[in-house]
Symmetry: C2
Subunit: 244 residues, 2 copies
């Protein structure tokens, strides 16, 4: 499930995370272990650390509660495992794109598109991560600190594009956080957005997220692109009105 191999392009981060507590867990995870993790994932993500009950996890996994402690010594330990799994699934996957070697606009498009996909597949993970990160900084903070996440490469690229006159001047951090905001927030705020904008219809909401890919990309690029009469548009497939 962790699918570590997927993300091995960003070895330092993964290594750091894995080393911390999984200690290169042998792949011989038993069926029971799997059931426990799946159940724990469900309950923890749904109820949060404090709201989760070991008994509920045991029931959900169809086993005795004592067995939980047999495989994972304590609630904290079990939680850490689940949290790291979720964290790895959602956070580093997109860093690969940001640190890749593409033209900026391509990169933004791919980032938005891929990230929205990842989040659509794990819609409740962001809220989980953000909440636990905010409320259990002692428990998790140390796991995350120094993960090697660093946006310097992408920031440098933005600066280069600014100097090249391809995009407007701006603080790259603002731009990055704008991108993250527009991708992540709709999932964190799903309940209230769904109520206010989509009549609580799951269908409409899904449709909305699907449309959002193109929309957010367009929104970002339109905002930062420097429109000049003598345009220096990069060799990207800018599918816009080329009716010049």
């Amino acid at each position: 499930m962790v699918n570590i191999s997927d993300s091995f392009l960003i070895l330092p981060l993964i290594n750091h995370l894995v080393k911390i507590n999984i200690t290169m867990k042998k792949n011989k995870e038993t069926a029971t272990e799997q059931a426990i993790l799946e159940a724990a994932r469900k309950v923890f993500v749904e109820k949060g650390f404090d709201g989760a009950r070991m008994q509920e996890i045991a029931d959900e996994a169809g086993i005795n509660k004592a067995l939980l402690h047999y495989y994972y010594r304590s609630k904290e330990k079990l939680f850490e495992t689940v949290f790291l799994e979720a964290f790895i699934k959602v956070v580093p996957s997109v860093l690969v794109i940001l640190n890749s070697d593409e033209p900026l606009f391509n990169k933004i498009e791919r980032f938005v598109s891929n990230y929205l996909d990842v989040l659509a597949e794990n819609p409740i993970i962001p809220g989980f991560i953000l909440h636990e990160l905010a409320h259990n900084q002692k428990r998790i903070g140390s796991l995350i600190r120094g993960t090697g996440i660093n946006p310097q490469f992408f920031i440098a690229q933005i600066y280069r594009e600014i100097e090249a006159g391809n995009i407007k001047n701006c603080d790259p951090r603002q731009l990055i956080i704008n991108m993250l905001s527009m991708c992540i927030f709709p999932f964190v705020a799903k309940p209230i957005l769904q109520a206010v904008f989509f009549k609580n219809s799951e269908e409409e909401y899904k449709q909305f997220i699907a449309e959002r890919k193109a929309e957010v990309t367009r929104f970002i690029i339109a905002s930062i692109r420097k429109q000049q009469e003598e345009e220096i548009i990069l060799p990207g497939q800018s599918t816009q009105n080329t009716s010049k």
Copy 2:
């Protein structure tokens, strides 16, 4: 504290919320009651409903635990009070702006500016609201449903601006959610953003939020404004500022 009078421009929402459980509480709140609410606010917002302990709230308020139940029958009741107070403080305040009668760009600027101010003053409320809303939909959902929050007026205005050719064509909901995202997300994700972008420096983060006002406004408007090159989508559109 609730400052209901501030927001009375959106009476329906406030009315609905207030009627639900405050039942027009008499203003004769005793000092103890205030202390309890303040303590409860702190603990609930910090720890969430499940993580909060009645004993801790009592200690924080400097009173006996039984006194909590004397004033607020149960944990749930106390929580509802605290939650509604927070909700009222952060959510409706900006709706006033969105439903006002200003030109679109002014409105956007005022919205972003004011909202970032409100959130900077209550930085932990958004996370609190979003989390409890997602995890205790049974407990709170009914309080929120039908609050009268509705963005129709603002949506209509956007459509008008599109037809008038002042802004590009777009789904107004996408635009609104973009705005909300960029305002709210930085506060929800503060811990991780601070670690990744600001070396955990509170000072740098504050500075960043301050700069963000102008930045987000600029970002949004630059993205939706229709630049005066040629652009014809609708056949019979009134010729606005076409410097051709």
